[in-house]
């Protein structure tokens, strides 16, 4: 018999409505899982002991929240010794509560959603449930570890350059970055406001769609699930990554398999060309660092020593950027948005990998931050919705993710395509690291 915690959120809610499951049983079972698994996963940084918000249709079911988002009665640390104080929770958390989802835990984040993993934050970095010697990716590190580790069916994260999608890919779960501006950002500490997006990480596309429909009711993503994708045109941006020296051969293999799977589902796959990637990443970094500098410079002036060393050195880079740099970067972003819109005029969606490798080892970061190749940041620059869905395992047993992109505000179509792909793909199964967790809870 399936453990109730491993049912979709909607199935758990139905079981509560039907009287087959009590919310108190779910909360107790969630606490038990956290107690058993989190000492090794290190996903949870604060656990609430308040009563569940059981009035809405989801009956009080638990959800995890990235610790840069304020939740009433719970501390917000932003993964930093520099951050103190609480603010009032914002619209997104209020919508979750109104639907009957309980923000039960605050989940680990890279410091101020910036760079990681780091060992000088208030909490040690979250670990990948597929192999705890590997990172989760970030910055929604705890959200990904908690969902992949079975602590929550869904968690809320933020995505400025891939911080929902990349950890979702590394941890073998679904990560959905909605259209920029769709989900209200109030109550969330900003990193780069023109790029920041709040959205769900979830065990399945259905769970992600469920949460998105709560965060942005106008989306109505659930209504499009379980519909065929036969006849839809999907542009496969193969040349955007296949010749990158950083591309792991397993990524190319699984992405070609993904295109084949979509074709078997009746989608029309064609190769498409996107603008040169490296220039986009540079432009995105300029925008992100310039905006993050504006957010943090007064805090740094008062107390730079309280920031972790990687975070403060990252933030201070923004001081060197001029208005001319930022204006050029924004012009590149606009041109990229136009190029994507043009492709999406003749294709329902685009297909790319989320990351170009599986999750690196913690040991790779011992001497400082390491650049990891992804294909996420340009879609923050363009504002398009994007979703990462598991597409297979690398030879080292770690998950990889395929990324789909649709027009602005077409999250329902995005979920339809992603779920069709998910359903046609062999499930990854239980994270192999969960066996490791039972025997190994020490340092990396």
């Amino acid at each position: 018999m399936t453990d109730p915690l491993d049912l979709h959120l909607s199935a758990q809610a139905q079981a509560i409505t039907d009287g087959k499951l009590k919310i108190s049983e779910v909360i107790t079972a969630t606490h038990d899982r956290i107690q058993n698994r989190d000492p090794a996963l290190r996903a949870v940084v604060h656990l609430s002991d308040s009563d569940p918000d059981s009035d809405g249709p989801f009956g009080g079911l638990p959800i995890g929240i990235k610790d840069i988002i304020d939740v009433n009665g719970q501390p917000t640390r932003c993964g930093s010794h520099a951050h103190t104080g609480e603010s009032a929770e914002g619209t997104a958390i209020q919508r979750l509560r109104a639907a009957g989802l309980t923000p039960l835990a605050k989940l680990a984040t890279y410091e101020y959603a910036l760079t990681g993993p780091a060992w000088d934050q208030p909490n040690l970095p979250a670990r990948n449930p597929w192999n705890i010697d590997h990172i989760t990716g970030g910055s929604s590190s705890g959200s990904a570890a908690a969902v992949a580790g079975g602590l929550f069916r869904a968690a809320i994260g933020t995505d400025t350059g891939g911080s929902i999608r990349a950890p979702a890919a590394y941890c073998g779960i679904v990560g959905l970055k909605p259209t920029h501006g769709l989900v209200p950002e109030d109550g969330c500490f900003p990193l780069s406001p023109s790029l920041d997006v709040l959205g769900p990480l979830a065990a399945t596309v259905e769970d992600a769609a469920t949460v998105l429909d709560i965060l942005a009711p106008e989306t109505r993503a659930l209504e499009r699930l379980d519909q065929p994708i036969e006849g839809l045109s999907i542009g496969y941006a193969r040349d955007w990554f296949a010749h990158d020296p950083a591309c792991d051969p397993d990524v190319l293999r699984t992405m070609d398999d993904a295109a084949a799977t979509l074709s078997q589902l009746g989608a029309k796959i064609s190769l498409v060309a996107l603008p040169q990637y490296q220039r986009l990443e540079t432009a995105g970094c300029v925008i992100l660092q310039a905006e993050a500098w504006r957010v943090h410079k007064d805090r740094l002036a008062k107390d730079w020593q309280s920031y972790g060393k990687d975070a403060r050195r990252n933030l201070m880079t923004g001081a060197v950027l001029s208005d001319a740099h930022v204006a050029k970067a924004r012009a590149i972003a606009v041109r990229f948005r136009d190029a994507v819109d043009q492709l999406l005029g003749s294709h329902a969606a685009l297909l790319t990998p989320t990351t170009l490798s599986p999750a690196p080892k913690f040991s790779d970061f011992e001497d400082g931050p390491v650049w990891t190749a992804m294909r996420t940041l340009p879609f923050n620059m363009s504002g398009h919705p994007a979703i990462s869905v598991p597409c297979g395992l690398a030879r080292n047993g770690l998950p990889l993710g395929a990324q789909f992109v649709t027009k602005h505000h077409q999250e329902a179509l995005l979920c339809q395509i992603a779920q069709a792909f998910e359903t046609a793909t062999v499930p990854l199964g239980t994270p192999t690291g969960l066996q490791q967790l039972k025997t190994k809870t020490g340092a990396e």
Partner: protein
């Protein structure tokens, strides 16, 4: 960009770093500035 240049930029924002911290932060800032300058030059040739 020299360490003095970087120090001056940070001081404009009211940030005073000891020399060891300044030099630790300098490589990433220099790298970003170089990339951003390349972008400017590249973009100029596009326009």
């Amino acid at each position: 960009m020299t360490a003095d240049d970087f120090e001056a930029l940070l001081k404009q924002a009211g940030i005073k770093l000891p020399p060891d911290e300044l030099h630790a932060a300098l490589p990433a800032a220099t790298w970003l500035l170089g990339m951003a300058d390349e972008l400017l030059a590249d973009e100029a040739s596009d326009d």
